[in-house]
């Protein structure tokens, strides 16, 4: 399953809820304010790295760029453009959007 998270993890618990609940082998795509979850040096960095042992984490490049944090992304998070977003929705059978 592909999980999308579009809220800042410092404002809402959607990313933590998603990481706690998603199944092994699924993927998490950070979009909109959700991309702040991918920032290095934050208080949730360790939780995100922990989740990456079981799931792949992606972040939408346009949202990282606009927020000035593309150069600050945790190692191992893969960047995707809008076409890559579409590819992910095709690759995984279902999409769960944690709003």
């Amino acid at each position: 399953m592909l999980h999308t998270v579009n809220k800042s993890p410092f404002d809402r618990n959607s990313l933590e809820r998603c990481m706690r609940t998603c199944d092994k082998g699924s993927a998490i795509l950070l979009i909109e304010d959700g991309v702040y979850g991918g920032i290095k040096g934050s208080v949730i960095e360790d939780k995100v790295k922990g989740a990456m042992k079981d799931v792949k984490i992606y972040a939408l490049e346009a949202d990282l760029d606009s927020r000035g944090i593309k150069g600050r992304v945790i190692d191992g998070i893969q960047l995707v453009d809008y076409n890559g977003f579409v590819d992910l929705t095709v690759e995984y059978d279902k999409v769960q959007s944690w709003l």
Binding site: N6, S8, Y36, S42, D63, D65, S66, G68, K70
Partner: protein
């Protein structure tokens, strides 16, 4: 002297990240319009609001206006009292060097004190 000439201490409290919601841009517009009224303006950035000031914002691919350079214009409008909470930056892995304009960094305790000294608090 007319009473209308009274100057008030006004604090704009910014707590939202840019782009995800309209709050940050709206706050900036209100501050710039309000600057014409010659009030004693304080801008406070707390929580995700600190992300508004992050350097290197580039919105080309997103297709919306990058309003972050406008923070640099605040000085020309005599809005020079700009504060960022230390704890908010630390939680997010940021330091004052990551910000587009020079700011004064305040602790949560100092923020509390400043807020109590205001006449008006406007939240975005």
């Amino acid at each position: 002297m007319e009473e209308a000439g009274e100057t008030k201490k006004i604090m704009y409290v910014n707590r939202k990240a840019p782009y995800g919601t309209i709050y940050a841009l709206e706050a900036l517009e209100v501050v710039l319009i309000g600057a014409a009224f010659e009030q004693d303006v304080y801008m406070m950035f707390l929580d995700d609001g600190v992300f508004q000031l992050k350097k290197e914002q580039d919105t080309k691919a997103l297709g919306v206006k990058n309003f972050s350079p406008t923070y640099r214009a605040l000085e020309m409008y005599d809005v020079e009292k700009i504060y960022v909470e230390k704890e908010s930056m630390e939680v997010r892995g940021l330091t004052a060097d990551d910000l587009i304009i020079p700011v004064e960094v305040k602790s949560n305790e100092e923020v509390t004190k400043m807020m109590t000294e205001m006449d008006v608090l406007l939240n975005f």
